[in-house]
Amino acid sequence: MTQYKNSTRVICGAIAITAFILLWYFGTSGTQLGNIMPGPVKVFRSFARSFVVPIGKYTMLGHAAWSFTRVIVGFSIASALGVVIGLGMGWSRVITAIFKPIIEIIRPIPAIAWIPLAILWFGLGETTKYFIIFLAGFFNVTLNAYHGATSVDQTLVGAARMLGTKNNRLFFAVVLPSSIPYIFAGMQIAITTSWATVVAAEMVRSSEGIGWLIISGMEINDTTRIFTGIVAVGILGFIFATIMREVENRVCRWSKKSDI
């Protein structure tokens, strides 16, 4: 049954992707559209070449590594701080009262709106990018962790106390573990927004990274390079999401429904 479903999924996915590429291919070969948009063969050839021949200062792997590092640094700080503040808010009403209003006001501001300010504050270096990516992920993680800590099943708290858990250990014995699925849901959203944000940040001001690759394509009027960058953004984003999902599946195995 499961195998049947899996093969159906793979076949349908393959057909859809093939159809999309064919549509792209025929849409751009010998048509008006072809003048402003490169066909898939050209894009994939350029994409493959970018691993060998540097674009700007780096090859594709170099650019990817730059973007990747920026995301990982910003995202890690956002996650660590978000978990601490979010769980803290769930644990103490005073902490909630302090942080909640600020968070609610700052959260709706898109992270990229901070780019000009961040450049004035931190200059053109890496700190600016880390700061922007931190902002992109922080609120998702914080609010999810907060939500997790406030949704703890009170029966479990009662059960832990009944079983002899001291009040000062309830946090690590019950609150933290039962918040983990919520935290991961927040991190899942955060990694996606962080990835989108790093591309935007690199497009604004940078001389390396996938975002730079795209914007440099625009500057020299090279649509193939733009598309190469876009393909890279898609693939790396997919890799990020897959890694996060795998980690989540490992860590939160207990929270998933499973067959007996």
Partner: protein
């Protein structure tokens, strides 16, 4: 054994847990709700006491007060004659909603209490394994609760409460969420477990058949506010038969008392 004699025998022994003139009231939007009204009861060593009462009569509140999870508004709860405050591992609770820690395996759940009381790994593993085997779950030590059926989960709940070796086990409609088939099975099982490892039990239920099947003694509770309406010593031999005429007679009698005004 004649009824009077049996009661006399129980009364001669010092109670393990008792509550005196227990009262509990909650503030609510409709004013103060009285959940329990001057309830007194005493349970002796290794006695299987069933609190039988209608739907929302405040049975869970009684368990919570006995467990120390809610403070009583009036009266007191005594454990071995001493008043107590707050919950503790001297009273094990088995919940209707089961309340297992979903992130821990069966072993992790059962040894949780001992771990938090600072018992060393080897010793608590041994003890936990013993109780896991007692409830018939050997081989499932490394399963997570979401991989188990409802009946198996409640077996874990029972093992977890047993494993802290409490003075009294408080069971709050533990089979309330199980299907009828599993429920019968678990009633047999809980008696088997209790006969293997004697323990003082307070078992709450709204199912008369379950009450008569399990109890040494039944306390019939009134509608809210809950208070004692009648008390029965059940001296039918075990294992009991659901269709034994004496069983059915008791069942009918207690049901009638329970519904009478």
């Amino acid at each position: 054994m004649p009824l009077e004699q049996e009661v006399g025998y129980l009364e001669r022994r010092a109670p393990v847990i008792e509550c005196k003139q227990l009262g509990k009231a909650f503030p609510s939007r409709q004013g103060v709700v009285h959940a329990i009204d001057r309830l007194s009861l005493a349970v002796c060593q290794n006695e299987f006491m069933v609190l039988f009462g209608p739907g929302q009569c405040g049975k869970t509140t009684i368990i919570n007060c006995l467990a120390g999870l809610e403070p009583p508004s009036e009266g007191e709860v005594l454990l071995h004659g001493e008043s107590m405050e707050g919950p503790g591992p001297d009273r094990g609770v088995v919940y209707q909603t089961i309340g297992l820690f979903p992130w821990l395996t069966v072993m992790g759940n059962v040894e949780f209490g001992l771990k938090h009381q600072g018992v060393g790994k080897k010793e608590r593993r041994e003890k936990a394994s013993h109780y896991i085997e007692l409830v018939g779950l050997d081989g499932f030590e490394d399963s997570y609760p979401n991989q188990l059926s409802g009946g198996m989960r409640q077996r874990v709940g029972i093992a977890r409460a047993y494993c802290i070796e409490p003075h009294v086990l408080l069971m709050d409609e533990p089979f309330g969420h199980l299907d009828a088939q599993t429920r019968y099975l678990m009633q047999e099982e809980i008696i088997r477990i209790w006969e293997a490892e004697k323990c003082t039990v307070i078992f709450v239920t709204n199912n008369i058949e379950e009450a008569v099947y399990l109890a040494d003694r039944i306390i019939v509770l009134s509608e809210r506010p809950a208070t004692t309406k009648a008390e029965y010593v059940i001296d039918l031999p075990r294992p009991r038969d659901y269709v034994d005429p004496r069983f059915l007679r008791l069942r009918k009698e207690i049901t009638e008392i329970s519904f009478s005004e």
